[in-house]
Symmetry: none
Subunit: 199 residues, 4 copies
């Protein structure tokens, strides 16, 4: 029913990121998003079914790009350590360059609303699988101990990155998120990577 492409679609998504970041999802007014996007209130509903749909679409669009970027960066690499390093730096770089998007991601998306939880789960699952596959690949290549539970390792990797980003978002002092890539990678590597066995 609704048109999910076009200049105005993008303008609304971008305005929504700003407004959600500033006031939070529940307090954000659709009319404010419309104004910031330079369209009429009603126009929003030509492109989105509801306010909730804006949040979900926003996340799916941005998260899709996010994952694709990371996927392309590790594509072709052989070394799992190198790949993990790129995941961490990609994660931090992308959110670090878009603080507002990061605020939405870290804060606003953690909502109990069933519709929101539902709309978010799919892209998150993809990202989770990307990380888990990386761990398993490491185990096959002997770079990650075989007794590590891949799912648990993924939770550690993601949980650590997520917490670092949340701290950064919450922090009033402004520091470069990307600068944490190296130390965070080293910390994770220490617990997950080992010299390749059999070499």
């Amino acid at each position: 029913m609704v048109k999910r492409t076009g200049e105005k679609y993008d303008a609304i998504i971008d305005a929504a990121v700003r407004v959600f970041a500033e006031t939070g999802y529940h307090r954000a007014q659709v009319s404010r998003i419309a104004r910031e996007a330079g369209v009429a209130d009603g126009t929003v509903y030509l492109y989105f079914e509801s306010k909730e749909d804006i949040l979900i679409s926003l996340f799916q669009t941005k998260m899709g790009e996010f994952i694709e970027t990371i996927r392309s960066e590790i594509e072709g690499l052989e070394d799992v350590g190198e790949k993990l390093s790129r995941v961490v730096s990609g994660h931090f770089r992308q959110l670090g360059n878009h603080r507002e998007l990061a605020m939405v991601t870290q804060i606003e998306l953690r909502q109990a609303d069933p519709g929101i939880a539902q709309g978010i789960s799919q892209p998150m699952k993809q990202y989770f699988e990307l990380i888990e596959d990386l761990v398993r690949e490491g185990q096959v290549k002997g770079q990650v101990p075989a007794d590590v539970d891949a799912r648990l390792a993924r939770k550690m990797i993601f949980g650590t990155m997520d917490e670092v980003v949340t701290s950064w978002v919450m922090s009033s002092r402004i520091y470069a998120l990307e600068g944490l890539s190296e130390p965070v990678f080293r910390l994770l590597a220490r617990g997950l990577l080992q010299a390749k066995t059999g070499e």
Copy 2:
């Protein structure tokens, strides 16, 4: 102005945990909390300044107990590994036994509302410091490598536990959260602990 103790205070807090867990903070109605607590709507405002105050007070009360329990469990222990193990198991046990509280903690408290963020930060900071101190103690005792950034290590420890709890809360399959204490501890220990140097 408001009275912050008494039987009804506790009843309201407990009702609020249930209602927030079920419907989410924003959709929760104060009148519903009052009904479940067995008091009149107006009575809520004899004990709390606002709906937001309920959420914050709830968190502060429960988080205070949470931290105190953990603190008492690691008190007197010498070995930092043992202490970390107790932190992890205490974290999982407490939230695992109170899924509704965990839902509020993991989901509802992630709100952009400035007042909420403010009210939450203090207790969280205490917990963060407890963990950071543990890491530093490990470094002094030679159990944690000196080149580890304590703050970063804390983010990894907390982030990992937090992600595990969130997964558990989100999961529809019901499994025992506490059962993950051991493997999570081992995973974290692998990255953070070393044989005590100089012994």
Copy 3:
């Protein structure tokens, strides 16, 4: 859930009759009804579930009184002609004295909204049955020809009265509705009544 009695309930009903009569149901604003009733907007929803519920409740309340009045007026009478005469005059007198109520009855209640149609049907059915029973009583007593279909006769009686009231409501010239009781009764009687047979 809602409280269906009290001073304010009546005030809202009465205000609603006026506002519906003036602007029509769909164009009537709940806030206007509230203002005219001297209550806050929200108060309306302590007594009624929705705007539609106001219309339906209004009709049920007023129609209940309407029928009861007519029923009590023909109670105890023996002659069916006399009874019919009282029905007609009661019908005209009651609506004639409350032009606003008549406007709502004749115009606003003819709505396709299923909820409204539903809420109206019960009281109307009672009135219809009262009239049909009267016709049947006339047949038993030999005052109404046996070959008359009671349901059809009711449609003629009600349809005629209804059309007369509608004409009166629509008319800008103001004349006394009740003055039409006599001629309308005579017209109906001519077609329905006969000298009592067997006497």
Copy 4:
């Protein structure tokens, strides 16, 4: 300003009958009518001034045909009873064959909106006059008692037919409206007609 003829004009009228019958006038969407008529939303406004204008035009068009049909059927007849019989059967046949049109006529047109009431009154007046003239003709010819008020008689005739049609429209059971022509005519005739005097 607007063009009131053409293939699309008719298509819009016909679509409007269906949509109004299905959802009611107020809930009917112009865009839905446009879609069902196979034209663009904007095109509707090349043929009609407003949504209200659609309803009124629809009624005027259909009611004009309605009256014309009846007029032609009684044209040339001598006997007033025969004429009345044709009016009743024509009324029922035409609405009975177009239930959707009947729904609009019986339900949707009873609106308080002044513009609608205004637009409807003219064609109705014509129909009313046709019936009244019939009664007066009967009086001249001695077939209708002289003391009958022609206007009142018209209200009885129309009111009875109208009520029968409304019952039929509201009824979920499907029966042939036209089958009621005979008994309704007989009922009306009993009250209005007499053996021709002076013969």
